[in-house]
């Protein structure tokens, strides 16, 4: 029986889809059988980020409505035999699916896959509720901006209210130079407010934009800093104890070490 992990944030555009694609590819590269669910119905783009857009025949709503079989809707990744995508419907909206249908779907997929990653839409409404319904655990993505942290906090509160405790935090798009100048929230401040366990920090990296457009997750790119961060995040998710990577400044990350401690 696999584990279902939802990637969520509250605020839009902070890197949920990027994170889902990269962790998914990272877990597949490590040999696990992985399925990605694009739960952003009506605004799908995980397929684009994975470079699988042109292979879609059926989607999540087709499966839930019994119009297509799960195995026919799952798209196999180009690079990994053991990585699959269940795309979102583009012509429907969030109300096409109910939380109970998502629970049933995710439970079925957990029979077959080691990891089921669910890419949540932004917001706290129906789409979010669908995305988290079937998840065993949550990864909350936030950027070092006040509004993003506020929304992440809201999401963590909603997750706690649904008895989904101990979400992990991923801080995305950090720019060490800006933090140093005080133009960005610093990581310690974010952790202090959100008070959840930090899984990793991903630098702002042009390689992400390039890889997104090419449909090649950065985690597979040995040169990219963000890719390296996602490799580390994947390994931490698998229970390995990897120290936080240094971006540029010693001072920024020196203090962080005390925050890392994983149950595995």
């Amino acid at each position: 029986m696999g584990e279902a992990i939802v990637i969520t944030s509250g605020k839009g555009g902070v890197g949920k889809t990027t994170t889902t694609a990269n962790i998914g590819a990272g877990l597949a590269q490590a040999g696990h059988k992985v399925a990605l669910i694009d739960a952003d119905i009506g605004l799908r783009n995980l397929d684009v980020v994975m470079g699988l857009e042109n292979r879609i025949v059926y989607d999540l709503v087709d499966v839930v409505e019994g119009f297509a079989k799960l195995k026919h809707a799952l798209i196999k990744d180009k690079r990994f035999e053991n990585l699959y995508l269940l795309p979102a419907a583009q012509t429907r909206d969030k109300t096409a699916v109910s939380p109970q249908q998502m629970i049933d779907l995710v439970d079925r997929m957990k029979q077959e896959f080691d990891y089921v990653l669910i890419d949540s839409p932004a917001g706290i409404e129906q789409g979010f509720k669908n995305a988290v319904a079937g998840a065993d655990r949550a990864l909350v993505v936030a950027t070092p901006e006040v509004a993003s942290v506020r929304d992440a906090d809201r999401i963590i509160g909603l997750l706690e209210a649904q008895e989904k405790h101990n979400p992990f935090l991923i801080i995305n798009r950090i720019r060490p130079s800006m933090v140093k100048k005080g133009d960005m929230m610093d990581i310690d401040d974010m952790i202090e407010i959100l008070a959840i366990e930090l899984l990793g920090v991903v630098p702002d990296d042009e390689a992400i934009v390039v890889s997104t457009n090419r449909g090649e997750p950065a985690v597979l790119n040995g040169q990219s800093r963000a890719g390296e961060a996602y490799r580390n995040i994947t390994r931490r998710l698998l229970g390995e104890n990897i120290p936080m990577m240094k971006l540029e400044e010693d001072t920024l990350f020196g203090k962080l070490r005390k925050m890392i401690g994983f149950k595995g």
Partner: protein
């Protein structure tokens, strides 16, 4: 001096005695009265030695809600009594209480004590840096200080001389000479 319902409530029995006891140091008195036996060493206050504390009655008149977690953004608590939070109150969270608000952590959200107009109500927290603070009809916001510039000590917010002030918490009750 307007006395809140809470004053004197700790003691049933002679009215004069209750005021005496509750005034100088409510917290300390509260503690001592919880211990078994007569711990009040001032014989003049207890001529008969028969006073008992009716906390049940106090709790009915001013109930206290205990919240054993951090209040996160978007979470709102309204309560017709005191509110105690064992955790933080994050930005975007709100507490409104008829009585006092006590936060055993960071207060960064919005807190309104004495929401029905009780100007004697207080807000105390290990660290106070609220988005906005209200006591009765008074509204204030914390000065725009970075958190590292804040005093590293528990504080209390209250109305003093018609102004909402935040002051260092003093455990012996000197913060509230009038209560």
């Amino acid at each position: 001096m307007a006395r809140r319902a809470k004053d004197g409530m700790a003691i049933t029995g002679e009215r004069t005695a209750s005021r005496e006891v509750s005034r100088p140091a409510p917290r300390r008195d509260g503690l001592s009265e919880m211990s078994p036996g007569d711990v009040d060493t001032d014989p003049s206050r207890r001529p008969s030695g028969q006073q008992t504390t009716d906390y049940e009655d106090e709790a009915r008149r001013q109930p206290t809600l205990l919240i054993r977690r951090t209040l996160r953004s978007g979470q709102r608590v309204r309560f017709g009594g005191n509110v105690v939070v064992l955790g933080d109150v994050n930005p975007g969270a709100e507490i409104s209480a008829r009585g006092d608000i006590v936060v055993m952590g960071w207060l960064r959200g919005v807190a309104h004590a004495g929401a029905d107009g009780d100007e004697q109500a207080v807000v105390c927290a290990f660290r106070i840096n609220p988005t906005q603070l209200r006591i009765a009809q008074f509204i204030g916001r914390a000065p725009d200080l970075t958190e590292s510039a804040l005093p590293d000590t528990p504080e209390v917010a209250e109305i003093r001389d018609g102004r909402l002030v935040i002051d260092r918490w003093q455990s012996s009750g000197q913060n509230h000479p009038g209560r």
